[in-house]
Symmetry: C2
Subunit: 276 residues, 2 copies
């Protein structure tokens, strides 16, 4: 099932596409945006950006100011939605569960397991689809994300060794099994088994899947979620234990918003470009 281009915009000399496609993994229509730099001519390296709670594919696309640097570096940028959506898709009134809150895993529990298959969707379906449809290089892709999407970037990086050239994150949920956002989502999507949880917890995963490559994390010190939900020091300690190289930049004054992301997205794209 190919991607349908819904809208296109010229941007910084490249092309921005908003696309939809019928997903076999989620059983729903899924949406994503893709920026192709002016240099694109097949075999374009790319970065996938996973967004945070409540976001669609549009938040990063319109607010992150990423495409000036992506164009300069010749990198494509893929931004998926954060969950399946639709009237017949399970949901919850809370902002941190259900539609807009897929947590980048395959749910095991009712009523979520039918559609909430974001890990399989991304790894097995969207990446190959985007690569084939837009001439992206399967061997040069990296992953980053914000908050819940930072959790997604780190866990997919560790759970699929060799799939991504490098990984970075903005204010990621590094230890979901230890914080309220993650505990709530994991209980709903995965059930009560702590072992199952830890297979989707970056702080746990790094002890088994540390890589040779440096990981880059930016975290704002004025982020209102820092102490309760994020706690990057938990991941830092786990990285230190196993020798995983980590650059954790604690950014004075910055909060959790896209103004924080836009301030450092250029550094992250350059970091990934240096790893291709």
């Amino acid at each position: 099932m190919g991607a349908k281009i819904e809208k296109t915009h010229f941007c910084h000399g490249g092309q921005l596409y908003y696309c939809s496609h019928d997903s076999r993994e989620t059983g729903t229509q899924m949406r994503f945006s893709l920026f192709l730099p002016p240099q694109a001519s097949g075999g374009t390296p790319y970065v996938i950006f996973l967004s945070g709670l409540t976001c669609t594919e549009d938040n990063f696309t319109t607010k992150a100011g990423a495409y000036a640097k992506a164009a300069a570096l010749g990198i494509a940028v893929l931004a998926p939605d954060t969950s399946p959506r639709g009237e017949d898709v399970a949901d919850d009134d809370a902002y941190d569960l259900g539609q807009g809150a897929g947590f980048y895993l395959d749910a095991l529990q009712e009523p979520w397991k039918k559609h909430f298959r974001m890990e399989s969707y991304l790894v097995s379906e969207l990446l190959p689809l985007a690569e084939q449809s837009f001439g992206l290089d399967p061997k040069r892709k990296s992953i980053t994300g914000h908050s819940m999407g930072g959790h997604g970037a780190l866990t997919l990086y560790f759970r699929h060794p060799g799939l991504f050239q490098s990984c970075s994150a903005f204010a990621p949920i590094v230890a979901p099994a230890q914080v309220p956002w993650g505990q709530k989502a994991f209980t709903a999507y995965l059930g009560d088994s702590r072992e199952t949880w830890l297979a989707h917890d970056a702080t746990e995963l790094v002890s088994k899947a540390a890589t040779e490559k440096e990981i880059l994390i930016d975290q704002g010190l004025a982020d209102p979620f820092l102490e309760e939900q994020l706690q990057p020091e938990l991941f830092q300690t786990a990285c230190n234990k196993v020798g995983q190289k980590l650059t954790l930049r604690l950014q004075d004054g910055y909060d959790h918003s896209y103004f924080f992301i836009q301030s450092f997205i250029g550094d992250h794209l350059k970091f990934h470009a240096n790893n291709f």
Copy 2:
């Protein structure tokens, strides 16, 4: 009446403020955003960006990706709302009249004239307020804008000689008296007098108020409003007649969106910085 800071965000090493204040000119609460670059220490030069139809102060602020370049250049950026707003403020069901469509002029007609005083609001109230509240340099300010806001930038530049150091625009309505958007708004706000209209029409104004300074305009050639509403060639012809220097860049493939604006806002900020 001072500005109340509603929200602040660190951004690119500077500070972004969302503010509100009670306006004497519009008789309403008005909103604006202001980015102060990291170098700000009093006497900061600034650019005011006037937005287009339907926009608030938030569209440019979140979507234009302007602050990386503003920070690098040491320029503040002020983004006002496009009209007075509120339940007791006149409005129209159409997107191109009433709230969100102030056209940067003082209305003369009922029911608009009580609140729709955007020219007086900007020139006599907001600029001095922002200068005093945030240490901006009254002698180094320039003006730009998009679509209806491009009309605003050009007409305020010509109507207030010496107030702005330079002027640029993105896809401006250059000849409102000759196109549907302008004719509809001018009829409602100004009445039927053609003479009154022409005092707010950039293509007419340039013949009486041409300046020594170059004006920069970017216009996308895939802009769906180009032929009916924008017609930059009308302004170009008028500039040529009176020797007004104009750089009109026709950008192949670009549309009317903020993806167009974000692609060239850096050039515009640099243009203004060179004129301070």
